[in-house]
């Protein structure tokens, strides 16, 4: 590797990493939050079998899963202004990524909810809970750990997909690499460098995933031992004696 190339790579590292931290990371996280919200909504509407809304949800999912993400980005950024809605690049990107991933997360949540044994819902009914209550108190809390690995895989995919935001003027990790490449005419080396930084980010996410998954098991840990619903009427077992 020539000295010039080494120098370019070294000097550009921080100039790629910083937009990565300042733009790619918040873009990824905000889009992900939005996608979880949309996905949950779409899943609930389908699982609860609400007539028209269910069809709307299925249509939404069909469109967003059936067309390329890049086109969705373009439509939201360049197309919405003609409807009088002009979003800045960053919020437009959050909206596009969030809506797109929402369609995928909907399926994740739906299958996680379906995976909860039917007996749990029936038991909830039989102790007198209504459907929404049973969902909120019993089914959803059990679905999250099931959905979690897939949600997280989607998060990691999203991280890499945010590189598409460069096409609607968001200056994130990959755009920064492209900018330097455009000046130095070394795209190959700089893309590899960007890939390395993506690899660091996604590896960190994978570790985070494993760490959270360990915590997500229903099992009484030591500090759980005092977590029973406290009613402020004393914890004295003697009262029942």
């Amino acid at each position: 590797m020539s000295d010039r190339l080494v120098e370019i790579l070294v000097s550009s590292f921080m100039r790629i990493l910083i937009p990565g931290i300042k733009v790619t990371v918040p873009l990824t996280l905000l889009s992900f939050l939005l996608s979880v919200f949309i996905g949950l909504l779409l899943a609930l509407v389908q699982v609860a079998n609400i007539k028209v809304l269910k069809e709307v949800a299925r249509f939404y999912i069909w469109i967003f899963r059936g067309t390329p993400l890049i086109v969705q980005l373009f439509i939201i950024f360049f197309g919405l202004p003609s409807l009088g809605i002009t979003l800045n690049a960053f919020p437009a990107a959050v909206l596009a990524f969030g809506m797109n991933l929402g369609a995928y997360n909907a399926e994740v949540f739906r299958s996680a909810i379906t995976a909860i044994p039917k007996g749990q819902l029936e038991a909830a009914y039989m102790i007198g809970l209504s459907y929404p209550r049973a969902m909120a108190r019993v089914i959803l809390p059990q679905s999250f750990p099931v959905a979690f690995p897939n949600l997280f895989n989607n998060l990691i995919s999203l991280l890499k997909d945010t590189s598409l935001a460069s096409s609607i003027t968001v200056i994130e990790l990959f755009t920064s690499a492209q900018q330097i490449a455009a000046r130095t005419y070394e795209p190959f080396a700089l893309y590899c460098e960007a890939a390395l930084i993506y690899l660091i980010f996604s590896t960190a996410l994978t570790w985070l995933q494993r760490w959270i998954e360990k915590k997500l098991v229903w099992e009484s840990s030591e500090n759980d031992k005092d977590k029973d619903k406290d009613c402020g009427c004393g914890r004295n077992k003697a009262m029942i004696g």
Partner: protein, 246 residues
């Protein structure tokens, strides 16, 4: 106290219940026995509206409801006075033993928290599970889980409790601890309907036994009478098959 009339139910055109009439008086323990596939589970599920019957009435708590056209509100009202113990326990796996029992009192019945707490400890003591209040269901043996499930069912003092083969998912050695709890409840005068393959339990504990086959009640009567002197040939056959491997 609880009466159902003329329940019909088919699954994809195959009739499973074909006109069941069935009655429980206050304080009675009724055992439902019968071969696999005879519709015992389906009957309990129709009574508790986990399955929608195709036809039939239910008289519960002095109200008569059509089982097909009953409103969601009425279903909830019926369930508020009914306990159900499942074959597979169905404890809420995201809640501790304590919260499993509390849930029906506090969230569903808006009971005062102090009172609910007291009640919860009371029923958990009754089933002998006071030492596991802070454990999650996954940490308990099958027998322990079923005892908690019984505590959860009896905590709101329901007028009747339905049991669907409460011990058939358990190892023989664990079966005993659950049956003991149920015997205790029976002695205290709890109204119970128990679908079971445990002939010993049916004979000794039930006040009345109902023998079902192919979606109809073939024979019913006092437990002793039915076991010692079945009227129907089919009942006789079934009872002898059941005792063969004991």
């Amino acid at each position: 106290m609880l009466e159902v009339k003329n329940i019909h139910k088919s699954f994809s055109k195959v009739p499973v219940l074909r006109g069941i009439d069935f009655k429980v008086e206050k304080g009675e323990v009724v055992a439902i026995i019968g071969p696999s596939g005879s519709g015992k589970t389906t009957l309990l599920r129709c009574i508790s509206f986990l399955e929608k019957a195709d036809d039939g009435q239910i008289i519960f708590d002095d109200y008569t409801h059509d089982m097909v056209h009953i409103s969601k509100r009425d279903i909830k009202k019926v369930r508020m006075n009914m306990g159900f113990v499942f074959q597979s326990f169905n404890l809420f796996s995201n809640m501790t033993v304590y919260d499993n029992v509390m849930e029906g009192l506090v969230t569903a019945r808006k009971m005062d928290c102090c009172e609910a707490r007291k009640k919860t400890f009371e029923v958990l003591e009754k089933v002998g599970m006071l030492d596991k209040t802070k454990n999650y269901p996954g940490e308990l043996s099958g027998g322990q889980q079923q005892r908690v499930a019984i505590a959860r069912a009896i905590a709101p003092d329901p007028k009747v409790i339905l049991f669907d083969e409460p011990t058939s998912a358990l190892d023989p050695e664990l079966t005993g601890e659950v049956l003991d709890v149920m015997k205790k409840l029976a002695k205290e005068g709890t109204t119970m309907v128990v679908v079971t393959h445990e002939m010993g339990f049916a004979r000794d504990v039930a006040s009345r036994v109902v023998f079902m086959e192919n979606g109809v009640v073939v024979e019913e009567g006092k437990a002793k009478e039915l076991f010692e002197n079945p009227k129907e040939e089919r009942t006789r056959q079934f009872l002898s098959a059941m005792s063969k491997h004991e």
